[in-house]
């Protein structure tokens, strides 16, 4: 992790400005602000229920914020904006679906278009290149539903990237993957961010797998966010302010552990907020 690499050095791709969301009276996001620069790898970290998915949906234009605004490449987000690639959470690919990995990536180029597809050499080439970039040549002709979790994740990333967006959003791509596949996906995404100049915003409830590749972090807790480099954000006083109670940040052999303080554990029994019910260790390395 290069702490010296400051935010704002790269041209701005995404600006989230005071975004708030309330759903049926419940405050999900409370005035969240941060920016993502071109080619930067940003981790969106927070416990379950912190509002990560909602925030990604606001950026995609699938969820209207109750306050604040989002700008992608300086323009307000519109539904037809093709500059964002997206890998949603828990995509269930049916094994009975007659679709090869190659076909799913091809849908990333023109899946939104009407009419029947005509053969195009350029598109096939773009699909082949993208499958190669995510190291998926081996299973390009297999049914997507029969691939392993890690292989499916690669295909979904290729699908999201084949239209050459400048921003790639991934919602919990590591959920359900074993540690090795997770690490492979992360280093692949780090490489793609560098080589293809794509800004990556990836949500996860666990920060440690991302530490080697992250340029910056957006930490979300109880609907509030803190952003900056990991050195700026992953600190006891910053995170305590977010959570609204005292937490400690421990460094163990280069890994980070966020632990609720003893007083917070007592509070938890009284208030039983959603972030607290998971137990004192909010993140385990």
């Amino acid at each position: 992790m290069d702490e010296a690499q400051a935010l704002g050095a790269a041209p701005e791709i995404l600006r989230v400005d005071g975004v708030s969301v309330s759903l049926s009276g419940r405050q999900i996001l409370d005035s969240v602000s941060f920016t993502v620069g071109a080619g930067q790898f940003t981790g969106l970290i927070g416990p379950n229920g912190a509002g990560k998915t909602t925030l990604l949906r606001v950026i995609l234009g699938l969820q209207r914020p109750t306050g604040g605004r989002v700008a992608v490449l300086g323009r307000p987000r519109s539904r037809r904006n093709q500059s964002i690639g997206y890998v949603p959470q828990k995509v269930l690919l049916d094994p009975d679906m007659p679709m090869r990995a190659r076909d799913l990536v091809a849908l990333g180029t023109d899946g939104h278009r009407f009419g029947i597809r005509l053969r195009s050499h350029d598109r096939s080439q773009a699909v082949r290149d993208m499958l190669h970039a995510v190291d998926a040549d081996r299973f390009a002709d297999a049914r997507v539903g029969n691939l392993s979790g890690g292989e499916q994740q690669r295909v979904l990333i290729a699908h999201a990237l084949v239209s050459r967006p400048q921003l790639l959003l991934l919602d919990e791509p590591l959920a359900g993957l074993d540690i090795r596949s997770g690490q492979e996906i992360i280093s692949l995404l780090g490489r793609i961010a560098r080589e293809h100049k794509v800004a990556v915003l990836l949500s996860a409830h666990e920060i440690n797998p991302l530490l080697p590749v992250m340029d910056s972090v957006v930490y979300l807790a109880a609907g509030r966010a803190a952003s900056g480099t990991t050195g700026q954000v992953i600190r006891a006083e910053v995170l305590s302010r977010l959570y609204g109670y005292h937490v400690d940040v421990l460094n163990v052999h280069g890994r980070v552990l966020v632990v609720a303080g003893p007083a917070a554990a007592a509070d938890a029994a009284l208030t039983a907020g959603p972030a607290l019910t998971v137990g004192p260790a909010l993140e385990a390395g």
Binding site: L62, G111, G115
Partner: protein, 308 residues
Amino acid sequence: MHQLYTWVFEPGFFASAQVQVAATIGGVVAVVSTVVGVFTVMRGQSFAGHALGDVSTAGGSGALLIGLSPLAGFVGLGVIGAGVMEMIGVRRLRGRDLATGIVLGAAIGLSALFLYLDTTAGASTGATQQILFGSIFTIASGTVPIVVILSLVPLVSIAVICRPLLLATVSTDMAAARGVPLRLAGLLYMLALAVSVGLSSLAIGAILSTALLIGPAAAALRLTRRVGRAVAVACVIGVGATWLGVLLAYDSYYWGPGHQGLPVSFFIVAVVFAAYLLSGLPDARTAARHRRPVTPMTTSPADDRVAA
């Protein structure tokens, strides 16, 4: 050789006007049903397809009652039913299932009433058989152009929305993020489904329409890894089953001593069912090759107790 030929094609098969109309309408209907069916199976909406069959039953029997052609009722009420289902069950999978069930129940209730009135008050004594199980040999040749024109509605709809529909089948979130108009795609698909079910109600009966919709598509999905090919394979199975069914029904007239022909719908559905069973063979063979020897189970004391 000639004997074999006449054994397969009983005398007068190709010359029969009824056979020609039946083969034409059956072929067109099979193409439409299977093309729509591939998407229906992939989207997991077989239940909606079946429910629309029941709506068609109500439509067809109601049309007979007021002196309209059953086809108008099949398609007309089917399209309305599809619209209602799409309106009630907006996007939520559970909502969609409930909406389907509610519309289905109402449709069967209406069918019970209409068919009762058809057979008692009306003059159409064969209404129940005709509506539920089809009457492909009694269709007037004047119906052919109407069927062909109607068949364009689902075919064109599917051609227009096939890519957004596929993307939405993989993940509605991914489709929505790409700016796919999900409501429009969903509505056009339901329109295609309703018209296709209405058409196959005419050919093989409202109740059996599901068989032609689902069977060939399900068999095709087992046999290929690509959607385009699945559509082609499903068409071949669907059209083949329909024509073979027509042939067998025609021949069945000569089988028994009483010269009593058997219903076409039975033969079509039987061939579709056989095709589905056969489509599982390649998979079953691979599975058998890869099957590992089963380790003998150790009996636990608990099992002994149960046995005693």
